[in-house]
């Protein structure tokens, strides 16, 4: 190795150093610290009573009904919102892609939900569904307290989540649509495929990588849902999600040991989802090889 190569390496490391430092300091170290803390009984209200308990925290979480209930809720919300988003996202993407006029305005409109703060969006829907303030009940001509029943509360949560994040999905899918070669569609048309067949047999398979990335992003995002539920129900009516269980244990009960174990379990959940996606559907994050060419 000669001087110039060494210089290049030194520069590279120098340039990466700040990024690596904060990533280690703010993510790697805390997650390891969380794993460490999860092995202790450690309540911040009684810090001096810190005791090493091994895997006891995990045992008590995995045997508690609260955790499984929250996990179930989270999965319902995740699957419910992501599947609706995919469907709705495709419709919106097709409209944006094919529309004959106002193309710019339609795409601009899609960014509005993205630009709205989640807390604000949740507030807007909360007020809209409120029986005394909202316009929904007036519109439907009924008196229903949507957020006071589990089923309808889920509906409102999913609606809020879908409203806020479908545009992201739709924009990704639209970008994917632009990648489908026009000749391919024309060829299928010549071969006698109708619009629906062209969509299912040509467009969707060609877009598969984009669809997978979009669904993976959104699934991971939905799995950690917190803001929406916090604002809409605060976990009441049995709508608590895993992130809320984590937050409540850590910052409301100040039980750092148990809360850290919840955090680690959520982290493991995210890991499992990623692995299932990447192994199960091929690598959706795709051609990473280009980086060093």
């Amino acid at each position: 190795m000669n001087l110039r190569q060494r210089n290049e390496r030194r520069l590279a490391w120098l340039l990466c150093a700040p990024a690596v430092t904060v990533l280690i300091g703010v993510i790697v170290y805390p997650i390891l610290y969380a794993v460490w803390l999860s092995l202790f009984r450690y309540d911040l209200r009684f810090p001096e009573q810190r005791v090493f308990v091994g895997l006891d925290n995990y045992v008590s979480i995995l045997t508690s009904e609260v955790w499984w209930q929250a996990l179930g809720n989270t999965l319902i919300l995740t699957i419910g919102s992501v599947s609706i988003e995919l469907l709705l996202g495709f419709i919106l993407a097709l409209i944006m892609h094919h529309t004959l006029f106002w193309r710019r305005a339609v795409r601009a409109a899609m960014l509005i939900p993205y630009a709205m703060i989640t807390v604000v969006a949740a507030m807007a829907w909360k007020f809209a569904f409120d029986p005394t303030t909202g316009f929904i009940d007036a519109l439907l001509d009924r008196e229903q307290a949507w957020l006071t029943q589990r089923g309808s509360a889920f509906l409102v949560i999913i609606l809020t989540e879908v409203w806020k994040t479908t545009p992201f999905m739709a924009l990704l899918l639209m970008a994917g649509l632009t990648l489908v070669p026009h000749e391919l569609i024309q060829a299928a048309r010549v071969d006698g495929a109708n619009a629906w067949q062209r969509f299912i047999k040509i467009v969707v398979p060609t877009m598969k990588p984009v669809i997978l990335v979009a669904v993976l992003f959104r699934t991971l995002d939905a799995f950690r849902i917190f803001d929406t539920v916090f604002i809409l129900t605060r976990g009441a009516q049995n709508t608590e999600t895993v992130s809320m269980v984590g937050y409540n244990t850590l910052l409301v009960s100040l039980n750092l040991g148990l809360g850290s174990a919840v955090s680690v379990l959520i982290f493991v959940g995210v890991l499992i989802i990623s692995i299932v996606f990447i192994k199960g559907f091929g690598t959706p994050t795709g051609r990473r090889g280009e980086i060093d060419s």
Partner: protein, 387 residues
């Protein structure tokens, strides 16, 4: 002013592939030197090694006798014109040309003066404040050249500079480049895959194939005395005709023509060979109109014309010969397009004077060639058999 010397320069990539092997040549001070070869032969790699963008694995690169292998590009005082021009899109023409001077911390008034001067030479004065994106291809090319010459580099390097221009502009820029070199007298290394460009521009050429320098010389030398099959096949358009010929009793047998002749003089037969590859340039054929034209040195044969291409001043006549002698030839031979073809037919091109010859498709003509014009090559090594 500088001379550039390459001494056994080798480039081996980390994956083991050898891109350049033992390249040695010297570019004299003020010379216009051309590095020519087919795409993928390693010429850009060699250029990048000289300018310092690529490491040299072994060997030495010297400028004025001084080894510069480990110098950073910025310390080599060489300028490079890229194939893509690599104009900085966010800078105006003026800023583009001034950039090397700013980097060299030249005082401001001098920068202004030298940029104006350079722009005047290249007729860019009116465009100085434009951004590259509004310029035409030829103008961009001139800005790239301006950026290269503005700091009076010791060596001026050009990487396929004309390949992005249309044919007409290419000819024009070729003339301008030659004129510019005459005016500045800077040592120039020009890389191209186009042998026409190479022949018309260069004082001397180096031909590169698969990372190995094949031959170095003036265009005339390379054309008249190619040292091996590759050079013979690469220089000249249309390319030299090749075919195998058996050696029998010190006679050369052209079996497709049913002819036999003495082996030309100056042929090196130190190695016993039972056949050789014979090459003949298309322009070395004559049309014989009557028996009287035949002589000792001239070999004549009759052939049917397969097709004719008329190029104005000249005529390309294609004939197809049936050939039964197909020895098992090495890969070398395949590079020049000589391998067993379907139906054992061999296509030969003759380039004739269009004003004095009238030949139509299907005609039978008598073609002749002088045996002194034959090039004989060793079929195993590809080397020319010459003493």
């Amino acid at each position: 002013m500088a001379s550039v010397e390459l001494d056994k320069v080798t480039k081996q990539f980390s994956d083991g592939t050898v891109a350049i092997k033992d390249a040695s040549f010297t570019i004299a001070d003020g010379e216009f030197f051309i590095l020519v070869g087919p795409s993928g032969c390693g010429k850009s790699t060699l250029l990048h090694m000289i300018v310092g963008l690529e490491e040299t694995s072994s060997g030495e690169i010297r400028v004025n006798g001084q080894m510069i292998n480990h110098l950073d590009p910025k310390d080599r005082n060489m300028a490079l014109v890229f194939q893509s021009y690599a104009l900085y899109p966010h800078m105006s023409v003026r800023e583009n040309i001034a950039f090397p001077l700013i980097m060299a911390k030249v005082p401001k008034p001098e920068i202004i003066r030298r940029v104006e001067e350079t722009a005047a030479i290249l007729e860019l004065s009116l465009l100085l404040d434009s951004k590259p994106r509004i310029l035409s291809g030829g103008q961009r090319q001139r800005v790239a050249i301006g950026r290269a010459i503005v700091r009076n580099p010791e060596v001026f390097l050009l990487d396929e500079p004309l390949s992005n221009l249309d044919a007409r502009l290419r000819n024009q820029m070729r003339i301008e480049l030659a004129r510019l070199h005459k005016r500045l007298g800077t040592t120039t290394l020009y890389v191209t895959h186009d042998q026409t460009e190479a022949m018309t521009l260069g004082d001397r050429l180096a031909i590169l194939n698969k990372g190995v320098i094949q031959q170095i010389g003036t265009p005339f030398e390379l054309y008249q005395q190619p040292c091996n099959l590759f050079v013979a096949g690469f220089m000249g358009s249309p390319a030299m005709n090749f075919f195998p010929a058996r050696i029998k009793d010190d006679q050369l047998c052209f079996e497709p023509l049913g002819l036999q002749t003495a082996i030309p003089g100056h042929t090196d037969f130190s190695k016993p060979l039972d056949y050789v590859i014979v090459g003949i340039r298309p322009e070395d054929f004559y049309v014989l109109s009557n028996e009287n034209d035949r002589s000792e040195q001239l070999i004549a044969f009759d052939a049917q014309v397969d097709r004719v291409e008329w190029l104005g001043a000249e005529l390309l006549v294609y004939i197809r010969l049936k050939i039964d002698f197909w020895p098992d030839m090495s890969i070398l031979v395949r590079d020049v397009g000589l391998e067993k073809k379907q139906g054992d037919m061999l296509e030969v091109i003759a380039r004739l004077d269009a004003t004095s010859t009238i030949v139509k498709k299907g005609d039978t003509v008598t073609l002749g060639f002088n045996i002194d014009k034959l090039h004989l090559f060793d079929p195993n090594t590809g080397d020319r058999l010459i003493t």
